[in-house]
């Protein structure tokens, strides 16, 4: 009762206090009327060149986005956004993209999704790092703890909400996240960054870059961190600390006027703790929540060759190899992926630009069966063939464009999948763009859907002469089909002024063949090991359909040269219905794993003498089916750049409460609470 009362008071107070601070800031900087733009111009023009170079500049202005005209719901997180917010992981950076659901489950786990279906193992989002797909074929989701790079070397993160299947392929159902690192030419010289904080005893990164011949460059980096325990519901240490080390390189080279080559690679390893609440097995009784440790390692290498033939045509040939290993209590596995991709773009006529491509991916895994989870068979290799074609047609120059295309894939689970899309773009004026799109996308089966065996609860029924032991077991199904989406989107972008912009996107998604779990008692059978029992099988099936719909708004306003405000709001609704024949009583709960309302408010402010002050506020609605209450999170960062070489910063994250939950327990993993944190960092560049 008290807790409830506290929450209902605490929230408005928190918001009010933040508003008070904002009002304060506005009043301070608006009171002395800022000089008119042209006065500033005249002043700058009057300066001698050496004085001009000594003026203090701000970097808060919005960077122009190449994708601003794209007929899709795109949001770009820039390197500047990442630096200014002081985020240290890719998953945390994604909070800045409106319409993306980011929930930190514990110190080393995140649930990330776009437009609903969020879960620990969300499976409808495609994530790429420099063109390398990083979702695991085990469950089509992403292990966010291993998706990392030198944070300072990220050029931008392009976040596409909605299906991108035509260009990107299967699993780009609800969105695509494209993490793009800087070219080696952009990271010349040395960078050393060291930080520590209340829940991060140690965080360090080093990078060095130099020229390679007249037209090439390289860089090397290494980083390591130790992140401490978060807290559990009682306020005690949650046993979810982790550490990792990582190193890598990148090489960029202009071979001649037409050809460019890029090669990069990474290697990493780490350990992490987690709390699991595992069900009883036939040999061991349930022990309640217990700490377990896990370790991971991996390596990847990618090469890309691009050729440009003037304005008319260019092509890209890309190859990568990725190796990941993961050893945790419930599952141990090694996955190797080889991927080859070719894309060609050319001007078909004055009004048509064609793109087409071919892809091949080979995946091999080796899973070691544990007591509770195994894959049947243990090892498996899969091939994926894909092709796409897309045509962008200018219907009326500078006014109307039509983009049509389709992806054609062949995978070893479901055979051929066709994923077409049509997009229409209209630019009524120079400052406005409206777009509409209809697309189909599929989430193809993963190893889990097809080959899983997961031993769940053991039930002993007393009987005469002997008691009978039953074990509930989840099995993958050979007949599991792809989950399907038909998506309809409408969007509008408006930039009435260079300092003001609005971006609105709405969507209506129709899903079919969504995954359910069905009991098949007729298929029950007896097993003798480790003790005699009867297996009660549950199979994955496709007996759910549903709709999601929602609105996402982003507004960006730069009232002064050195101050930018960004506001975001996302509202969505998920309606899921199991088929008449389905017995799954849990599948529909997924609708309550994603927040209905999300608000964000960010302020980036540069003060004189190299000081900067950044504030972010995130409001995330309750997760009804998980009993996770709504929370408001406020992060602050004070930065000081006394010179080009040095940067000091202090972050306070989750200022308003001691701790809060962002996600509930899932798949035997006990969620932690996110504590208030203080973090300081020093960066040196030369």
């Amino acid at each position: 009762m008290t807790a409830h009362l506290y929450q209902s008071i605490q929230r408005p107070l928190a918001i009010r206090r933040v508003w008070a601070v904002f009002i304060l800031l506005i009043s301070i900087w608006l009171a002395p009327a800022p000089g008119m733009a042209d006065e500033k111009l005249d002043y700058l023009k009057s300066l001698k060149i050496e004085d001009l170079l000594n003026t203090e500049v701000t970097s808060v202005s919005k960077k122009p986005e190449k994708l601003a005209d794209a007929p899709a719901a795109i949001f770009v997180i820039t390197a500047e956004d990442i630096r200014r917010t002081g985020v240290r992981t890719i998953a945390e950076a994604l909070r800045m993209a409106p319409g993306i659901q980011v929930a930190r489950m514990d110190a080393n786990k995140w649930a990330v999704s776009a437009r609903g279906f969020n879960d620990t193992f969300s499976n409808k989002l495609l994530v790429l790092i420099d063109g390398r797909s990083v979702y695991t074929p085990l469950f089509s989701g992403v292990f966010w703890d291993v998706q990392d790079t030198m944070i300072e070397d990220i050029d931008r993160i392009e976040v596409i909400r909605g299906p991108g299947a035509t260009l990107w392929g299967a699993n780009a159902v609800n969105g695509v996240i494209n993490i793009i690192t800087k070219s080696a030419q952009k990271t010349q010289g040395a960078l050393v960054s060291v930080g520590t904080g209340s829940h991060e005893p140690f965080n360090a990164a080093v990078r060095y870059g130099d020229q390679l011949g007249p037209d090439g460059a390289w860089r090397l980096y290494a980083k390591g961190f130790r992140r401490g325990d978060y807290v559990n519901g009682d306020g005690d240490d949650a046993s979810d600390a982790w550490d990792a080390m990582r190193g890598g390189f990148r090489l960029d080279m202009d071979l001649n006027a037409r050809d460019a080559l890029m090669v990069q690679g990474d290697i990493y390893q780490g350990n992490e703790d987690q709390t699991l609440d595992l069900p009883e097995t036939l040999s061991t009784p349930a022990a309640g929540p217990q700490p377990y440790s896990a370790d991971f390692s991996g390596a990847d290498i990618l090469a890309r060759w691009r050729r440009f033939d003037g304005d008319k045509s260019d092509f890209t040939l890309q190859f990568y190899y990725d190796h990941t290993e993961r050893r945790q209590f419930v599952l141990q596995g090694i996955i190797d992926t080889v991927d080859l991709d070719f894309q060609h773009r050319f001007q078909l006529s004055a009004r048509q630009e064609m793109s087409w491509g071919l892809g091949y991916r080979y995946t091999q895994d080796d899973i070691q069966s544990g007591d509770s989870i195994s894959m049947i068979p243990d090892s498996r290799y899969d091939q994926l063939f894909s092709a796409f074609v897309q045509d962008e047609i200018v219907l009326q120059p500078d006014k109307w464009w039509l983009t049509m295309g389709s992806k054609l894939e062949h995978n070893d689970y479901t055979g051929v999948e066709i994923q077409p899309s049509v997009r229409l773009r209209w630019k009524p004026t120079g400052v406005q763009t409206a777009w509409a799109a209809a697309s189909r996308a599929v989430r193809t089966p993963s190893r889990t859907d097809h080959d899983l065996r997961s031993n769940r609860d053991v039930v002993v029924v007393p009987g005469i002469p002997f008691p009978t032991t039953y074990q509930n077991v989840i099995f993958g199904d050979d007949n599991f089909e792809s989950e399907e989406l038909l998506a309809f989107e409408l969007g509008h972008r408006w930039q009435p002024d260079t300092r003001l912009s609005f971006d609105t996107a709405t969507f209506y998604n129709q899903y079919d063949n969504l995954r359910t779990l069905e009991l098949n008692s007729a298929a029950a059978y007896a097993e003798m090991n480790p003790t005699p029992h009867i297996v009660v099988p549950y199979y994955w099936d496709n007996q759910m359909e549903g709709e999601t719909f929602g609105v996402e708004l982003v507004a960006s306003w730069q009232p002064l040269d050195f101050w930018k405000l960004t506001a975001g709001y996302a509202w969505m609704q998920m309606l899921l219905r199991i088929d008449a024949g389905s017995q799954d009583s849990m599948a529909e709960d997924q609708a309550g794993f994603s927040p209905m309302n999300q608000i964000q408010l960010r302020s980036a402010l540069d003060l004189s003498h190299g000081w900067s002050f950044d504030t972010e506020l995130y409001y995330v609605d309750e997760l009804e089916a998980m009993n996770v209450p709504a929370y408001t999170r406020v992060d602050l960062r004070v930065g000081w750049q006394p010179s080009a070489q040095w940067e000091f910063s202090l972050n306070i994250e989750n200022l308003l409460d001691d701790r809060h939950a962002e996600f509930g327990d899932r798949t035997d993993i006990v969620a932690s609470q996110i504590p208030r944190q203080i973090y300081g960092q020093i960066t040196w560049r030369y």
Binding site: I49, L52, D215, L655
Partner: protein, 218 residues
């Protein structure tokens, strides 16, 4: 005077929000939260008062870069500017989308360099660059993927290439305008400029970091 009154009024309002809601409940449950919240407000105020940009002007980096670009022409000598082509206006061309262009448009208005009117051109395609004359070429970030081709077209022509993309001079660009920390730094690839017949004045070279054929001199 009036500004002061309203200022203190707002400060008071910000603090007055605390006791209006049953303070005991909140203070007891989250003492650290309360203290931190108050601390932040005070810290904010102090920072704001001492560092108010009204005391020392802070400029948009793109505006400073635009003015610098216009200034740059005074420190460079073009080989063909003595010829009959002098009647042609001094042309600054911009390739691609960037934040500089709107500032540049205002900065070049009614300006002239060595008696020649300054005009601004926007090039969309490589063939625009091939076909039209220009003296200064600003290359936007989104054009860097085709930079080797831009460079090939510019080669041998008296065009000074400028960009604010990091590493531009390391890739054979002539002048880089880089924001490092809160200042603008100049990088110059003297060799590349010379190769195209452009002479850069010693004064500008002294202010810049020299990057020649991939090796920094300073």
């Amino acid at each position: 005077m009036r500004m002061h009154t309203s200022f203190w009024h707002i400060v008071k309002t910000a603090f007055a929000m605390r006791p209006s809601i049953s303070p005991a409940l909140i203070t007891n449950r989250h003492p650290l939260g309360r203290r931190l919240g108050g601390f932040t407000t005070v810290a904010l105020l102090c920072a704001a008062l001492t560092l108010s940009p009204a005391k020392a002007e802070i400029f948009d980096q793109y505006q400073v870069k635009a003015v610098f670009l216009l200034n740059l022409a005074n420190f460079v000598s073009w080989p063909d500017h003595h010829a009959a082509s002098d009647i042609r206006p001094f042309t600054i061309a911009v390739m691609g989308r960037n934040n500089l262009a709107p500032y540049l448009e205002r900065a070049v208005a009614d300006e002239s360099i060595a008696g020649r009117k300054v005009v601004l051109q926007h090039f969309k395609l490589l063939k625009d660059l091939e076909a039209q004359p220009c003296d200064l070429l600003f290359v936007s970030e989104d054009q860097m993927s085709i930079w080797p081709q831009i460079r090939a077209i510019v080669r041998g022509r008296a065009i000074m290439t400028v960009s604010d993309v990091e590493g531009f001079t390391h890739r054979g660009g002539m002048v880089g305008l880089l924001t490092s920390g809160r200042k603008i730094n100049i990088e110059i690839n003297r060799k590349e400029a010379k190769g195209n017949g452009l002479e850069i004045s010693a004064k500008l070279l002294r202010l810049a970091r020299i990057v020649d054929s991939g090796k920094e001199e300073r």
